[in-house]
């Protein structure tokens, strides 16, 4: 059997007396001094960590890893997530002890190499995006948006004038956009998409007034379309005194082709874990540097890196700074990787990346358009959306097709997003995939379409070849079991009440 079927937790593999890591035996302070600590401060309860040997622990985790799909093992056409190849030289760079063993508060003169990376990466981001300064602190795209909204608020507050209470977001936007704006008490106004999938200009105009704080926009948008009225949009929002925020989730197709800064955006976040090829790590760490135009630099979280006669240093924060948004300087490990990528990319690589990303997406769209309904007309940028509504008659949903694709050895595309498309399936191939891979995926999609016609149950009950099939999320949320402690407690309760444990969660499989 290729994949281990053992689903026991480390806790369930534990046996008293087993040890993995060995630690120094000698004590310098003398045995007695530990006894001088007041008993009231010492821990009284035991810590129920598992007891296992190192070989067993390693096998445990490596077998877990084999239950994952990943970019290194599978094609991962997850729309809006830009699952491109994560270059190994980036990993090599980030593992160097000369970086990983640096303390965030060590004297500046002792970390000049690190500072140079931060400085040059920022310079690169500025050039590529057309912005004037970046803070590297935000840890993710959503964290960047949060920082962006703080900047918007601080900027308007510094200028006085009318109270700006509204943040505009298109109805096709990522959920983080409205959530970020609402956290600061902004009234979120959804702007409709027109029949082509872009911002409806008439609807936008209706909402533009002196109360608009900001418009948040993803461009290309989540339908994979470039907002062709972008210059008009930014002009109109600026005219009423609002700012423009660029959600950099979809920056990948614009490298060397167009810059958010030139479009008129005031604030932008860039997902280094998307466009700059750093790994997603199963859900983080990412990095979401936030760039601004000149008029917003004083508000950036500090400290920023500056170049002085003595070398690089931390600049003291401006009095108008919103303050820090993170413990130290951001996810530096991710930045080292992005820096290595930037160096590999160079000036020549930018456009090659975007062109291949756009070409791959359009090719797939073209090959699939006769079998599936494409949500938009005309060419797309780096991703496109299919609407699988026509399969509702057979009771098949977009999510089912995603699950069936797993059986074919492909990760599912993004399903049920954007919300404006019924039964949406959002596909982003990225630039690093070979045409053969795209062709295999296209064939799989066509085969599944055929299955829906002949044997819809096969699709509805997929996947059939993976370690588990359709975990029951209703049970998980109704009677949450969120730790081994919960399992032990629930099991004891059931035993106490003499209840039969039909719930497999409470059975130990040893």
């Amino acid at each position: 059997m290729l994949i281990s079927q053992d689903d026991r937790l480390s806790f369930e593999k534990s046996k008293p007396g087993r040890r993995a890591v060995s630690l120094p035996k000698d004590r310098f302070s003398g045995e007695d001094s530990l006894k001088n600590i007041p008993k009231g401060l010492l821990r009284q309860t035991s810590i129920g960590f598992p007891e296992m040997s190192e070989p067993d622990i390693v096998r445990h985790f490596i077998n877990l890893s084999r239950k994952n799909f990943s970019v290194d093992t599978h094609f991962y056409p997850l729309g809006s997530c830009t699952m491109k190849y994560n270059p190994k030289v980036n990993e090599w760079a980030a593992r160097q002890e000369k970086f990983s063993a640096l303390h965030p508060l060590q004297v500046e003169a002792t970390a000049q190499g690190m500072f140079q990376i931060l400085w040059e990466l920022e310079e690169g981001l500025k050039e590529i995006s057309g912005m004037d300064r970046f803070t590297m602190q935000p840890a993710a795209g959503a964290h960047g948006e949060l920082t962006g909204m703080m900047l918007v608020r601080a900027y308007h507050a510094s200028r006085g004038g009318p109270t700006r209470t509204k943040v505009l977001v298109p109805d096709s936007s990522h959920g983080t956009n409205p959530a970020s704006a609402a956290l600061f008490g902004y009234h979120v106004v959804e702007i409709k998409s027109n029949s082509h999938g872009c911002v409806d200009m008439d609807d936008l105009k209706q909402h533009l007034d002196e109360h608009v704080a900001c418009l948040m926009l993803t461009n290309p948008n989540t339908l994979g379309l470039f907002e062709k009225n972008i210059l008009e949009i930014t002009r109109l929002v600026h005219q009423c005194g609002g700012l423009l925020y660029y959600d950099g989730a979809n920056l990948n197709p614009l490298l060397g082709i167009a810059r958010p800064g030139d479009m008129g955006f005031d604030i932008i976040h860039i997902n280094l874990h998307k466009t700059f090829s750093t790994p997603h790590g199963g859900g983080g760490p990412g990095s979401g540097p936030v760039g601004v135009k000149k008029h917003l630099i004083p508000f950036l979280p500090g400290p920023l890196v500056e170049q002085t006669k003595k070398g690089y240093a931390w600049a003291s924060s401006s009095p108008q700074s919103i303050g820090r948004v993170k413990l130290f300087h951001g996810n530096v490990g991710v930045m080292v990787r992005a820096y290595a990528y930037l160096k590999t990319l160079g000036k020549e690589g930018l456009r090659k990346v975007s062109e291949a990303a756009i070409l791959n997406a359009n090719y797939m769209k073209e090959m699939l358009k006769d079998t599936f309904k494409v949500a938009t007309d005309g060419p797309c940028m780096h991703e496109f959306v299919l609407s699988l509504k026509s399969f509702s008659a057979q009771g098949v949903h977009a999510g089912d097709v995603g699950k069936r694709l797993l059986d074919y050895g492909f990760h599912a595309p993004t399903v049920h997003f954007p919300l404006v498309v019924p039964e949406a399936l959002m596909i982003e191939p990225t630039e690093t995939e070979a045409r053969e891979t795209l062709d295999l995926f296209i064939q799989a999609m066509k085969d599944i379409a055929l299955e829906i016609a002949t044997d819809p149950e096969k699709v509805k009950n997929a996947p059939h070849t993976l370690p588990v099939r359709r975990p029951n999320d209703v049970l998980a949320a109704r009677k949450p079991i969120l730790s081994y402690r919960d399992q032990v407690r629930e099991k004891a309760l059931a035993a106490e009440k003499m209840l039969p444990t039909t719930d497999c969660r409470l059975q130990t499989s040893d």
């Binding site: 019924p422 999320d473 209703v474 998980a476 949320a477 109704r478």
Partner: protein, 130 residues
């Protein structure tokens, strides 16, 4: 779909059973279908004052969390504790065992703004299908 004649309704899909100055509130059969399997209900506390059309409870499924609005203003007198252990009651018995809270009316004239079963039925028919 079943919309009992003896109840009043809101356009946000709550039902109201009037018993003197007290009203019982739940969600309609249409709403429970839209919500799908309810996994958790955040109940209001007895004694809490609520305002018409303002949030009074939250009903969660795995897909979404729905705000439940007070159909009329008043003071909460009781909440259905059975939903804590068995939130699925809202799906199985939306009009009886799946009631959510009870309140003491503060402004009886607000009852006039509510819909009859027939009016609600019509409103639901016009709602966009997902």
């Amino acid at each position: 779909m079943n919309f009992p004649e003896n109840l009043r309704y809101t356009k946000t899909h709550e039902w109201i059973a009037v018993q003197g100055t007290k009203v019982k509130v739940g969600v309609t059969e249409y709403a429970q279908k839209e919500i799908s399997d309810v996994v958790f209900v955040e109940l209001p506390k007895a004694g809490q004052a609520v305002q018409q059309a303002k949030m009074a409870a939250v009903v969660e499924s795995v897909k979404a969390a729905f705000d439940i609005y007070a159909p009329v203003s008043g003071t909460i007198t009781d909440a259905n504790k059975a939903l804590e252990a068995n939130p699925g009651l809202i799906n199985h018995s939306p009009y009886a065992d799946g009631w959510i809270f009870e309140l003491e009316l503060s402004n009886p004239s607000e009852l006039n703004s509510l819909m009859t079963a027939a009016q609600y039925h019509e409103a639901v028919q016009q709602a966009p299908k997902h």
